[in-house]
Symmetry: C2
Subunit: 349 residues, 2 copies
């Protein structure tokens, strides 16, 4: 175990791959390794790339990775598909997309598929990003499919979010969702060599203009633990707001990836300058801590309450003798009265 972590920190892709498997399986090795690599995280730029199927998002991620390599930076890629419960296809996808980048030790690609709950996937993604960060990759690209809430939750793990659109799709009001513009730091129109690409670019610019005065919601969200705003962390970041650019690419020909890379770097500089990077991290830490606390508190609660008590509560709910709020109140009172009669519990993850 000690070897795994030291090898990972020394840059071994094999050690990294092993840790990612532990993370995906939720095994105990992951927990202790993540604790040990934690001090080495926080260096990589975390870039989310999201878009509907058919936008050529994966091709764009590959093209962008090559641009980073040409600029001398190393790249880790986590591809997350919240709609697929199987990882078999994902692994196959890795092999196909690896073709261009095979043999380059400066690029690491890993696909992750849905296992279990959404919270699980968002947290697994976060842990995977931490692993790639500690392994020393300069940039971590987080690729997700689509535009649903699950993708938005995963995109929150990114510091800079790139939303990919394509011509044709853009004409359908259903595909350009207001929610997606809300999370986009950079908009990309891929397949920009198609004749109708300019319509999509114009439509996106028009939507952005309409939203000029919209608040950057992400910076106004209450933090889950310490609330909003903390006196020493005023929520309004300094300086000018960010103007979301629309970048045109034709990733299949590697066209436009340099312009996208420049836009991403400008956004990174903007985040630093305006103190938003700090704010972003604080939100992320509190979100993560809050989820972990809920899990640990429920585990502690379940240790202090008998299975019979739980079964009988669920039975009374099923027969409509009590309602869910009453059930929670009764269980918590019972727990309060009983927890102190138990031996002090060791909290273990």
């Amino acid at each position: 175990m000690k070897d795994l972590v030291s090898e990972l920190l020394a840059g071994s892709p094999r050690a990294l791959a092993r840790l990612l498997t532990y993370i995906e399986n939720g095994s105990d090795e992951a927990t202790s390794a993540l604790a040990r690599i934690y001090p080495h995280t926080g260096r990589a730029h975390l870039v989310g790339v999201t878009g509907a199927p058919g936008t050529g998002k994966s091709t764009l991620v590959n093209s962008l990775a090559k641009a980073y390599r040409a600029a001398g930076q190393t790249v880790g890629i986590v591809a997350v598909d919240p709609t697929s419960p199987f990882s078999g296809g994902a692994v196959l996808g890795d092999r196909i997309r690896m073709r261009d980048l095979t043999g380059d030790r400066g690029v690491f690609i890993r696909s992750m598929a849905t296992r279990g709950s959404l919270g699980g996937l968002a947290r697994t993604t976060g842990d995977a990003v931490r692993a790639l960060d500690a392994a020393g990759y300069d940039v971590v690209l987080i690729e997700t499919v689509g535009a649903g809430q699950s993708e938005i939750d995963i995109a929150r793990e990114a510091q800079t979010t790139v939303v990919v659109e394509a011509p044709g799709l853009g004409d359908d009001i259903q595909t350009i969702k207001a929610g997606i513009l809300e999370i986009a730091d950079i908009l990309v129109v891929n397949k920009a060599d198609r004749p109708d690409a300019q319509n999509t670019v114009r439509a996106l610019r028009a939507m952005l203009d309409l939203g000029t005065n919209r608040p950057h919601n992400r910076w106004h969200e209450a933090r889950p633990l310490t609330g909003h705003p903390a006196p020493e962390h005023p929520e309004e970041p300094e300086g000018e707001p960010w103007q979301t650019p629309v970048v045109q690419t034709a990733a299949i020909n590697d066209t436009g990836a340099d312009a996208l890379l420049t836009a991403i770097n400008e956004h990174r500089a903007f985040l630093r300058r305006s103190r938003r990077l700090q704010l972003w991290e604080r939100h992320r830490l509190e979100r993560d801590l809050s989820t972990r606390l809920q899990d640990a508190l429920l585990a502690d609660f379940l240790r202090h309450i008998s299975r019979e008590k739980l079964e009988s509560t669920v039975n009374r709910l099923a027969s409509r003798d009590i309602d869910p709020n009453t059930a929670v109140r009764q269980l918590l009172t019972y727990w309060q009265d009983n927890r102190d009669s138990h031996v002090q519990t060791q909290y273990q993850e």
Copy 2:
């Protein structure tokens, strides 16, 4: 408040609409009203209808509602769009889709858009379904967009899940996800009047045949609170497994809605016969109770811990002095040591 609940139970659409607004806004009125209507729930058949944009899902839901009305049953519809953060558009959509059904007191339609977190939306949907159930609608249709994890979480609130596909879309391997087949009790090929519809039907049947032996995962999931399996609730339901039918509709002409209604009723009968309806409810109750317990436990924890303590923990995480697991362990130990020195806390929702 008492009036709202009695009016709702007496079938007032105005009272129902008001409660749904309270639920959407997460107001205190919702909590107490939901507790009071709870004994009157559990009667409606809860049917989820999900599909990608462009499959004609909303038209199908309307057509299905008319078929139910022709069969003398009342219908409540909750349309959930997890990708839209705004409810304005949703309300407009209601007006458009209401045209056919305007003036019919046996149909109630409500759109709900994303507010806040996913857990929030899945719970809001669940509460809305409970309200429609208590209001006496025979069938509640839960309409969701797409195929992501958030839709799957919302679909879990349904007893029978209908997945809608359309010709053309079906040829693209990306759109028919294995995960969607997994949750489908009934598959619909809408727009079946199109020439290429038979290809989609064949492709879906082939995928179903391949998966003949797949376990019905929903019945094998561990229950979140009491684990798996409880001795008195063996998880393997009785009788033959369900064979997912592929139903063809052309909802725009109201073709095929009767066949779909028949398939839905057969699934309902199957659920009753095989005891799966009981199992489904137990899973749902434990999922709901588990989330509520986590929320209540975190709220209790936060009442016993100072903001300064939390801020300093987050600061130490940000500076990488401690890792998240250590932070959770330290906070819980601190909480254990301190909670008993406080006055007994009243749990309030």
